[in-house]
């Protein structure tokens, strides 16, 4: 067992040792849909610093976990806290999320940015221009947002999220359908946001991307937390069998519960 890794109920995680290092936490998190338990008793602590990458196979509950942490879904049991407080609208305003498929308003590129800035009461043109400039979309400011390429649309969605100066930025497989150049552009923007102090929570299937981005990894397996480790340790010496199988590219098929 690597240093700093704790074992509980058959699961392992490397929780931040100092409470001040912990930004958010999930306690006994459960999410059920009908008679299916999709998130099954997850306890985790989210370090204040760094980029946390959430990994796991399809159906592991990565996107659900992100939505629960961001408060887009209410848990069936358990709770989420950020800075020791339960998640509310005021806290959510300090967070932002980018979805796998960018949801853009049927307006121009600049109007999409202006919309969120107006919500936060700071919709001056200079800020709109600066935001678009940062993601390389200044030249497209007056184009309809939905006529941008897939990569540009995702960059706009990311720019819109960052325009709110979030403390935490959730990204749910933002590069899943993008080419390498567009993926690199997104990663660059994410890294810049991280360098400015934004906490990054990034869901990805892409092992290469996870290696490039992750400071620590949360690995989910069928709705359970299989492992939470610092990135280097996760990739070099994963603790859980599920993570080892995933990293080795082995197919793990759960038997039907019937």
């Amino acid at each position: 067992m690597p240093d700093g890794t704790t074992v509980s109920q058959g699961r392992t995680w490397a929780a931040p040792t100092d409470e001040s290092e912990c930004l958010g936490e999930a306690v006994g998190l459960v999410y059920r849909s009908g008679d299916r338990t999709l998130i099954d008793g997850i306890d985790l602590q989210i370090p204040r610093a760094g980029r946390t990458v959430v990994m796991g196979a399809n159906g592991a509950g990565k996107s659900l976990l992100l939505r629960l942490l961001h408060g887009l879904l209410l848990p069936s049991a358990g709770h989420v806290r950020w800075g020791g407080r339960p998640l509310d609208d005021a806290l959510r305003q300090q967070q932002a999320m980018v979805f796998q498929r960018p949801v853009l308003l049927r307006r121009s590129v600049a109007a999409n940015i202006r919309f969120v800035l107006k919500l936060r009461g700071r919709a001056d043109q200079a800020r709109v221009d600066a935001t678009l400039d940062e993601v390389g979309l200044a030249a497209h400011a007056h184009q309809p947002a939905r006529l941008l390429s897939g990569g540009e649309q995702q960059r706009l969605a990311l720019a819109r999220a960052l325009a709110t100066d979030p403390q935490v930025l959730f990204l749910d497989e933002p590069t899943a359908s993008l080419d390498p150049a567009s993926t690199a552009a997104i990663e660059t923007i994410v890294n810049r946001a991280h360098a400015r102090g934004t906490k990054i929570m990034f869901v990805t299937h892409d092992l290469g991307q996870a290696r490039r981005l992750a400071d620590d990894v949360i690995f989910l397996h069928y709705g359970q937390l299989a492992e939470q480790s610092p990135a280097q340790r996760f990739f070099d010496d994963p603790v859980s069998q599920a993570a080892r199988d995933y990293l080795d590219g082995r197919l793990v098929i759960r038997k039907s519960s019937k």
């Binding site: 961001h70 887009l72 609208d89 959510r92 305003q93 967070q95 932002a96 999320m97 979805f99 949801v103 308003l105 049927r106 307006r107 919309f115 969120v116 919500l119 309809p144 947002a145 939905r146 006529l147 709110t164």
Partner: protein, 235 residues
């Protein structure tokens, strides 16, 4: 058959000569129906949006009721408005019966459910798409509603057009509450009904030609607008 041909000829002459009586009837028709559409949109769009965004007990029943009200029989609406506005009715003091005002009210009652039901459908579709993003951004409900209405504006224009089409083409309600009084409450549809019964086919046909042309023009204009909007991915 010769009579019909002559009637068509006379009808075109009336249209081309911009006959004052004809123009008066057309102007009143447009005034009544456009006013009714404006009122229906003022009421129907917020109602449709509220139902589209809301999650409340009885929502499905409300939607079913709203959809059912789209098929309100004009004569029944006319009769109800007549009862309300007649001297013995609760709104008799307004002295609106047999005025364009009564016709506007009748048409507004008739098409408000159409605007509300169709806008509910349009806005709900967009709301499904935006809801998670809006929640993530903590968009207040009023701002979300305004954004949905704005982004759905081209589709909602078609909804308003559907209301206008229904209003301008209906005869049952306006003839009951308006009375088809010459130079006062005579609109295209009531005039067509009257002139046909009198055998003055030329005026009836002329009005019919205008009515169809109007419907085609408005439809074409809205379609062109929507196509442009779709091309720029705004619809």
């Amino acid at each position: 058959m010769q009579d019909f041909s002559a009637s068509f000829g006379l009808a075109f002459q009336l249209v081309l000569a911009a006959d004052p009586d004809l123009l008066e009837i057309i102007a009143l028709s447009l005034k009544v129906s456009l006013s009714a559409v404006a009122i229906a949109c003022l009421i129907g769009l917020p109602v449709g949006t509220a139902i589209a965004m809301g999650r409340f007990r009885g929502r499905t029943a409300t939607i079913i009721l709203l959809n059912a009200l789209m098929g309100l029989p004009p004569v029944v609406v006319g009769l109800l408005i007549y009862l309300l506005l007649s001297n013995a009715g609760p709104l008799g003091w307004m002295r609106l019966l047999y005025t364009p005002g009564a016709m506007i009210i009748a048409q507004a009652v008739l098409i408000t459910p159409i605007v509300a039901a169709l806008s509910r459908e349009v806005v709900e579709q967009l709301h499904c798409e935006y809801a998670e993003q809006f929640r993530s951004l903590s968009v207040p409900r009023s701002s979300a509603a305004a954004a949905l209405l704005w982004d759905a504006r081209y589709s909602l224009l078609t909804v308003a057009l559907a209301g206008f089409g229904r209003a301008v083409a209906e005869v049952g309600a306006v003839i009951i509450v308006g009375g088809n009084i010459d130079h006062l409450t005579r609109v295209m549809t009531t005039a067509i009904a009257l002139e046909t019964s009198k055998g003055d086919l030329a005026l009836a046909l002329a009005l019919g030609i205008v009515l169809i042309t109007l419907a085609l023009s408005v439809n074409a204009a809205v379609m062109a607008l929507r196509l442009t909007a779709t091309r720029y991915a705004y619809a």
